[in-house]
């Protein structure tokens, strides 16, 4: 913790948070282990690259020994699996024959991080500001319109927004590309290439961001509405502060608490939205890989993605707990 020394309570709090995180990750890995053993077919054949690869009996036997498949499932195989996972060995892909799952995922990660990162940023900036303003002036015309629109956006699947955006801005108006990450045969210059990349990013980022804005507006509005009715706001008014001063000094900081928590806890939903949106745009990220893995029933890749998502969600939760401790002094005491 950045603030103050580590008191007994603080370190115990951090300890229990860490234990919860490790438990969750352990359950994700265990689920992966069980699912892979449940799939029909000999695990040795599966590990060699699925039923479509022709292998002889000797190879299978060698694999069996190599992977310890002749030993009991629990604890031997389970421990092996967990230690392999910890070392970053996620097995081989069925579809991309002989390629490591971890490599495939790492290859696709940057495209998704760019998409999700920019969309989160845009959604947080717009959503939180609109929501805080709606909460500050709650009951007014702006509040009503913003709340209604947010609930509608909140209920809309992001990939459908993506398809609508393609129809409007790509097919009908022809302003932005609605497919891929670079134009085929585009000019070679680095600056042009980057510009081309940004133009391809515009629609996917908008679709993911629009899917998130609704949620941020609703939560920011509720947080602000709660703050506005607190006693310290009446005190601030009695001290003679102007509306703007009250907003900046008292309301804003307190309203940020639930918002920061939501932003960190929301990662799972952000990624879920991004996966389907990537499918619409053939965006070569984790979402694209998920769709390919689903269609080819490429279980090792699917489970690798599941592990990645699980780890990032757990990481985001840790971050939320730490951020909450820093923002809210009551949690520290």
């Amino acid at each position: 913790m950045a603030v103050g020394g580590l008191g007994g309570k603080t370190s115990r709090r951090i300890g229990s948070i860490l234990i919860r995180a490790v438990m969750t990750l352990l359950m994700v890995a265990t689920l992966n282990f069980i699912l892979f053993r449940v799939i029909p077919g000999d695990p040795a054949t599966l590990l060699l690259g699925g039923a479509r690869v022709s292998v002889n009996a000797e190879q299978i036997e060698a694999q069996r020994q190599n992977w310890g498949l002749d030993r009991p499932l629990f604890p031997d195989q389970m421990v092996d699996y967990l230690s392999a996972t910890l070392r970053g060995d996620l097995g081989y892909s069925f579809k991309f024959r002989g390629r490591h799952v971890a490599d495939l995922i790492l290859e696709r990660l940057p495209a998704t991080i760019a998409l999700v990162g920019l969309a989160q940023l845009a959604a947080i900036l717009c959503g939180v500001m609109l929501g805080l303003y709606a909460g500050w002036r709650r009951g007014g015309a702006f509040d009503r319109v913003a709340t209604g629109a947010s609930l509608a956006l909140y209920s809309t699947p992001s990939f459908w927004l993506a398809m609508i955006l393609v129809v409007i801005f790509s097919t009908t108006l022809g302003w932005l590309p609605g497919y891929g990450i670079y134009s085929p045969g585009a000019s070679i210059g680095a600056a042009d290439r980057f510009l081309d990349y940004l133009r391809h990013l515009a629609l996917p980022v908008s679709a993911v961001a629009l899917g998130l804005i609704g949620q941020y507006v609703v939560v920011a509005r509720a947080a602000m509405s709660d703050v506005v009715t607190e006693d310290y706001m009446v005190t601030a008014r009695a001290k003679g502060l102007t509306g703007g001063q009250m907003l900046m000094r008292h309301a804003f900081r307190n309203a940020m608490l639930p918002i920061v928590t939501l932003i960190s806890l929301n990662l799972g939903y952000v990624v879920a939205g991004a996966i389907t949106v990537e499918a619409v745009f053939a965006w070569p990220g984790i979402g694209g890989l998920t769709v390919e893995a689903l269609n080819a029933r490429d279980y090792p890749v699917l489970q690798g993605i599941f592990l990645l998502l699980g780890a990032s969600i757990v990481g985001a939760n840790l971050l939320a707990d730490v951020a909450y401790g820093i923002l809210d002094p009551r949690v520290r005491q």
């Binding site: 438990m23 699947p157 459908w160 709660d226 939903y269 619409v280 998920t290």
Partner: protein, 310 residues
């Protein structure tokens, strides 16, 4: 809330229900939500009467990707099927999956939350650890990895309870992965309920733990379960639509998500066939929004204090 339930006379109960209804229906959101819902339930109940049997590639009646016209009000798809026909039939699939998944999720969430809250101690710790896991991992992410494996184990082919296997698996998986929020709400409510005197009275009168839970605690949980149930339905529609869009649905029983997946594969967006992808998405959005509005109105009716999370 419980003060009202203490006066246990039939007329008192009827009065309470009447009071609830007039307050609930006073919310504009509740009216709008119920109106949309009734419309879609009618569509789902009698699709054959409204638009005839589900069209297939063999019985398709129109041109390929024809825009809306007098004959095909919502245009046609890439093999000439009427989009209106498929969307109305999709209502039945989408609504049934979402509602059944919600029933599973409410039963699981209520049982787990009530047991944890009532017994406390070790039971509570372990059940809540399980709940934490499902609370942290979104239903969509879990379903994404569990559904294809279960499908492979069961094999496609025979129908279960009138559902194609993939739809049955999707609804069970959604139900089993989306109960954590309900469990948390129910647990905290149970914790406060079990300290009330009427529970002590029931225990003194010799009621067993099970009968106290079912006859005394459960009825008092109904408001929380109803309000959160509406939000679970909205979530279930979102997850089902997304999973089907990624190709886990069944083309023989197309839900709205499956229709969108077919539209995507046919390149409807880049062909400018807005009618093909517009209707299924709009339906999913409307139904989901209706449930959110109803859930919020229920919550406002039961809790005078405003909720924080939508």
């Amino acid at each position: 809330m419980s003060d009202r339930i203490v006066q246990y006379s039939p007329s008192g109960r009827a009065g309470a229900i009447k009071g609830f209804l007039s307050k609930f229906l006073g919310y504009g959101g509740a009216q709008l939500g119920l109106l949309c819902l009734v419309f879609f339930i009618v569509l789902a109940a009698v699709p054959n009467i409204l638009v005839g049997p589900l069209e297939t590639a063999g019985t398709a009646t129109g041109d390929f990707l024809a825009p809306p016209s007098g004959q095909h009000l919502l245009g046609t798809d890439e093999v000439g099927r009427d989009v209106l026909n498929m969307v109305v039939h999709g209502a039945r699939i989408s609504l049934t999956i979402a509602l059944l998944a919600t029933v599973i999720s409410l039963i699981l969430g209520t049982t787990i939350g009530m047991t944890a809250g009532y017994y406390g101690g070790r039971v509570d710790v372990w059940l809540m650890r399980l709940t934490d896991f499902f609370f942290v991992m979104p239903s969509f992410v879990l379903a994404l990895v569990i559904t294809p494996v279960v499908l492979e184990v069961m094999g496609r082919g025979r129908e279960i309870l009138g559902f194609r296997p993939s739809l049955f698996v999707i609804l069970v998986v959604i139900g089993m992965t989306s109960w954590a929020f309900v469990a948390r709400v129910v647990r905290s409510q149970t914790l406060s309920l079990k300290e009330r005197t009427f529970i002590d009275r029931a225990r003194v009168a010799g009621s067993s733990n099970f009968s106290i839970m079912v006859r005394h605690i459960l009825p008092n949980l109904v408001p929380q379960i109803a309000a959160n149930g509406a939000l679970v339905v909205a979530g279930a529609i979102y997850v089902e639509t997304s999973l089907s869009f990624l190709g886990l649905g069944d083309p023989l029983q197309p839900s709205w998500g499956t229709l969108l997946s077919l539209a995507q594969r046919a390149g409807a967006a880049s062909a400018g066939a807005w009618w093909y992808l517009g209707a299924p998405g709009l339906c999913a959005l409307t139904v989901s929004l209706s449930f959110v509005l109803i859930g919020n109105a229920l919550d406002d009716t039961f809790n005078p204090r405003r909720r924080v999370i939508p």
